[in-house]
Symmetry: C2
Subunit: 196 residues, 2 copies
């Protein structure tokens, strides 16, 4: 029991990991804990648009755990020109440490979910990834392109980082976003940087 | 698709609903969105201690939606001497409005989950409720009784509001908490108010 409690209290740190996207109803950046809740609800609500056979319970679990490594590494905006291979190795070490607070069989279950999300080889992982990529886009579209403007990110850079994963994981969602993004470009909500 | 997006953006408001418990690693009160994420993980991690046959996927779903009505009503500390019947009626009206942003069949699914949690008649609902009651206790126990001290709440009041639901939903968790709460009382982490 104490190991479960230690794990859940360690998770409290995810509430202090800030992202580049602001919440819509207060002038602060969202954190990765509340983001994880919101994308679970996004995926669940989008279930009618998921490819046939997608296991939504699995998707929800993937999304609830996939950002936990950020407790040690922090969040990196998806448009960054980062060394993503090195970053993912750091995140793996982080989740091994954090999940390792739990009894071994539970740690193994969570690690397998984290790895499934990262590998993106299952329908559930691809759908989960599409939702994860789409959520900050939806917030930006509701907020005059806030994080794109603040970081000067170009329309082309956004498309290059999100089109393929969202179209692969949830084609209907990409169809919807394409039109919204084109309108956002016309409105001047992007910058000219191809990386940040 | 637009109705799903409208719903998920409406959910953003839960990030601005503050509770009486502080986060452990920054000096601010937690919000109901990040709390919803954390209790889903608490329940999931406590699955080995759930009564046999408890459907953990159902528990996770109950916990992810059960606070959404607070978007309209705000959070009320569980120790309050509130008119809980009236408050729950307000919350029901709130979730009917918010879930109603979704297509009818999805709205009905979420409403049924919200009602299952509130009714507390299923094993999943009782286990979920135990986790929901336990989480702020665990945070307080890790934080010198922060919300009990700030609101002057007595040990007896805490026990009267959490013992029965936690013991019913997850006996092993109550067994663990009982000893911790007794130690907290000995440490002087409670006040003398029987309500707030």
């Amino acid at each position: 029991m104490q190991s479960v409690i230690d794990f859940v209290l360690e998770l409290d740190k995810l509430k202090t990991v800030t992202r580049k996207t602001k919440t819509l109803h207060s002038d602060r950046y969202e954190n990765s804990a509340e983001h994880s809740w919101q994308i679970a609800l996004l995926a669940w609500s989008l279930a009618p648009y998921a490819p046939a056979g997608t296991d939504i319970h699995q998707v929800i679990k993937l999304l609830l755990v996939h950002d936990i490594g950020e407790i040690d590494t922090g969040d990196t905006i998806v448009y960054a020109n980062a060394d993503w291979t090195a970053l993912k190795a750091e995140e793996l070490a982080a989740v091994q440490r954090i999940f390792g607070l739990l009894p071994a069989s539970q740690a193994a279950e969570l690690l397998a979910l984290w790895q499934e999300f990262e590998a993106g080889q299952t329908e559930a992982a691809r759908f989960a990834n599409a939702c994860d990529r789409a959520m900050p886009v939806l917030l930006n579209l509701a907020n005059n392109g806030q994080s794109w403007r603040e970081n000067g990110i170009s329309y082309q850079r956004v498309i290059s980082r999100i089109a393929e994963p969202i179209e692969t994981g949830c084609p209907a969602l990409w169809h919807y976003l394409q039109a919204r993004l084109a309108a956002a470009e016309a409105a001047g909500w992007f910058g000219d940087k191809n990386t940040v």
